[in-house]
């Protein structure tokens, strides 16, 4: 009676889904997680990109006032240009390797480089009159050893920006001394912009490294989060039914396989709904910014990669949830479940460890074969598709193995489920579980 089976499974899916989605905790989690994400990433980023209300007051001590002026111009121009290039298409690259304090500067030039003056400046810093001073006498510059005295150390990133500006100022001066004019100097100092071209089936696609990085790690993170969140709720759902003996009532109406499949799909759908809501929220929030920063196709994800993402994410989710359901059928309390969670976590962690080697050599035998193993393939086969699409037969084989494993575990679980739920008391040992499998 396949139609009755489908009907039962559908009823169980419906109950599982509606019960969960209607719970207040679903709504809370759906709203809370984005709030936490915003709290954890966006607010600090916003804060640090906000200009401090007060200007930084610096003193540049230079024996040659003209050079002091070059440094001043360089610092001012650079902090200004950073501001105006917020929507610049280079920004995407820049903000990863360079960070500017993003502040306004009030820079004073001091030609007096005596020790007495240094003591005076130190006092001014201590009293808070100025934020710091740069000690760059001609000797210091010649020795390329400049000292910054400041109330705050300025932070590592700030220092590197600072140093870059000083290097540039010194270079500009040196060039000027060698008779190179400003325009020529700018020309000479123009930084390199590295484009990488990704060859995919003979066609070139634009630089892809960052897109791939995000696509792969995004998927792994999403899979990990979903498995941890919803896998555990599958486990709990099974455990709860067992403890309340709802199972007996249900088993007098439906088969264990129907129950199991319904539960997995129901809870799974809840997870997907939640993730879907988050993705919509994230795109509404982040898309404009993303569109602005990735103009020119910086973050490019191939359609094949996207399709693989959806497919392998679903498969991985299903596989790991099934394992969780089996854990739920075996255990008698949630504490026991926690001890057994390594069964799920371990393959996920191994997958993450394998990502490096696979990314570097996606064709190497070790990559090919680990990406066939069902417990790793959701991450690794997907990674290979994203890095360099493997032959179709390999994708097909890995998918086949994955689906077969899911079906196998599902049937096995239904058996453990069926017997396990009717046994109470202590957690069964492995030999006992094997015995149960024979009973069903």
């Amino acid at each position: 009676m396949p139609s009755q089976s489908l009907r039962n499974t559908w009823l169980i899916i419906k109950r599982e889904y509606l019960e969960r989605v209607r719970q207040r905790s679903f709504l809370v989690l759906t709203l809370l997680l984005p709030a936490i994400m915003i709290g954890a990433f966006v607010i600090p980023a916003k804060l640090s990109s906000m200009k401090s209300s007060t200007k930084q007051r610096l003193v540049v001590v230079s024996s040659t006032p003209q050079f002091g002026e070059i440094v001043r111009q360089q610092l001012l121009a650079s902090s200004k240009s950073e501001e105006s290039s917020a929507t610049d298409k280079d920004k995407g690259d820049k903000d990863l390797d360079e960070s500017t304090p993003g502040r306004d500067y009030d820079i004073e030039i001091d030609a007096n480089s005596s020790d007495a003056e240094r003591a005076v400046l130190r006092n001014r810093v201590t009293s808070g009159e100025i934020d710091g001073f740069l000690w760059m006498t001609d000797d210091a510059v010649a020795a390329r050893k400049v000292t910054y005295y400041g109330r705050t150390a300025g932070g590592f990133m700030g220092n590197s920006w600072f140093k870059d500006q000083l290097d540039r100022a010194i270079l500009l001066r040196e060039l000027a001394q060698r008779g190179v004019n400003d325009t020529q100097a700018e020309e000479l100092l123009k930084p390199v912009k590295l484009d990488t071209v990704h060859l995919e089936g003979g066609k070139e696609t634009k630089a892809n490294d960052r897109g791939m990085f995000f696509a792969v790690f995004g998927m792994v993170m999403l899979l990990y989060t979903a498995v941890i969140f919803y896998g555990v709720s599958v486990m709990r759902a099974v455990l709860e039914e067992k403890n309340s003996r709802v199972m007996e009532v249900l088993l007098s109406s439906a088969t264990a396989t129907e129950l199991m499949a319904g539960k997995l799909i129901g809870v799974g759908a809840v997870g997907l709904t939640q993730i879907g809501i988050w993705i919509v929220m994230a795109s509404v929030y982040a898309l404009p910014a993303l569109a602005a920063s990735s103009a020119g196709g910086e973050i490019h994800i191939a359609p094949l990669t996207l399709a693989a993402f959806a497919l392998f994410f679903l498969m991985g989710y299903l596989l790991y949830s099934t394992i969780y359901a089996a854990i739920g059928a075996v255990i008698t309390s949630e504490q026991e479940g926690q001890q057994l969670q390594f069964i799920v976590i371990l393959p996920l962690i191994i997958s993450v460890f394998m990502m490096g080697p696979v990314m570097h050599a996606p064709d190497a035998p070790v990559a090919v074969w680990t990406s066939m193993v069902p417990f790793f393939s959701p991450v690794l086969m997907y990674l290979r598709i994203a890095v360099q699409p493997p032959p179709v037969w390999q994708i097909a084989l890995s998918l086949f193995l994955l689906i077969a494993t899911i079906a196998g575990i599902l049937i096995l679980c239904a058996r453990i489920y069926r017997i396990g739920i009717l046994m109470y008391g202590k957690r069964p040992t492995l030999p006992e579980i094997v015995k149960w499998l024979k009973y069903a």
Binding site: R15, E19, V246, E248, V249, L251, S252, S253, T255
Partner: protein, 300 residues
């Protein structure tokens, strides 16, 4: 056509034999009691009857055919402990259970509402199960077992943990089903409950049937060999082994089992000789005594 028939059914879990060569027959329209002490194998037997577990050997047939999935739709099951989703609302839960048994959503809703009204749960249909008292939860569980109007209702310890008022409501619903021609099977370790409700019984102990069949016939087979005596004074009359086989003395009230072939009048004479007797009544044996005796014989 028998509603259900077990033929030499055996079920063991590892070394432990829960049900051992059990055979029984339940006829349509009767109230059948599966009796026995805790751990006798009652629940294991019921589970095999409703297809949750499969016997290691022997056969289970329902409505004259080997037990199939389709039969299960025609039966209702009430498990021993509350088998309900605690966080689910009463009415939604009942509709879900009804639908699983093949009712349309509309029928399931309508019948659940009718039953709730009948058992006094009308004001609780929108509440979560966990907010209900134990007695009310048991009523919900009962409705869950009968909402699809099954021919055959199987109940595991339906009266355990119920307050007297709820027990009466449930008993009335029970009788109503019986009058409507349904076959009812329930397990209990309370002999007095079974005694009042059952047409037929099966007494099991250590997984084996000790007694099986029509309750009245079983009783008649044991004869009126029990006497209740209220007395004041000396209880020496209980010591004569020619008259008294065994006695259960409460001080001024005693239940006596007569020795085989003994005349009750002899006992009365002996009693009045040494004590003041205010009550002397010949009784049919209680199910409990029958059980104890049968078990004693089986063990001997």
């Amino acid at each position: 056509m028998n509603t259900i028939e077990l033929n030499k059914v055996r079920k063991s879990y590892d070394e432990f034999v829960a049900v051992d060569d059990l055979s029984l027959v339940i006829h349509p329209g009767e109230v059948y009691g599966l009796l026995g002490p805790n751990g006798a194998g009652k629940t294991s037997t019921l589970r095999m009857m409703i297809g949750i577990t499969v016997p290691d050997s022997g056969t289970v047939s329902m409505f004259g055919e080997p037990l199939r999935r389709a039969h299960v739709e025609r039966l209702g099951y009430l498990p021993e402990e509350r088998g309900l989703y605690k966080k689910m609302k009463v009415l939604e839960q009942l509709v879900f259970l009804g639908e699983l048994k093949g009712l349309s959503a509309r029928d399931a809703l309508q019948r659940s509402q009718q039953w709730c009204e009948r058992l006094g749960l009308k004001d609780w249909t929108g509440k979560k199960v966990e907010e209900l008292s134990k007695g009310m939860q048991q009523k919900v569980q009962f409705i869950g077992a009968v909402v699809h109007d099954p021919q055959f209702v199987v109940m595991d310890e339906p009266f355990s943990g119920l307050d007297p008022a709820s027990a009466v409501v449930l008993k009335d619903a029970f009788i109503e089903l019986k009058n409507a021609g349904k076959t009812l099977l329930f397990s209990t370790h309370r002999m007095d409950t079974a005694e009042r409700l059952c047409d037929s019984i099966c007494l099991i102990n250590h997984g084996r049937a000790v007694l099986e069949g029509d309750l009245n016939k079983i009783r008649a087979g044991y004869g009126k060999r029990n006497v209740q005596i209220k007395y004041e004074g000396d209880s020496r009359f209980l010591k004569d082994p020619k008259i008294v086989q065994s006695s259960n003395d409460y001080g001024n009230y005693v239940e006596v089992r007569l020795a085989p072939g003994a005349d009750p009048q002899e006992l009365l004479k002996a009693a009045t000789a040494c004590a003041r007797v205010s009550k002397f009544e010949l009784m049919e044996p209680s199910l409990e005594e029958i059980f104890l005796e049968a078990v004693g014989k089986a063990n001997a």
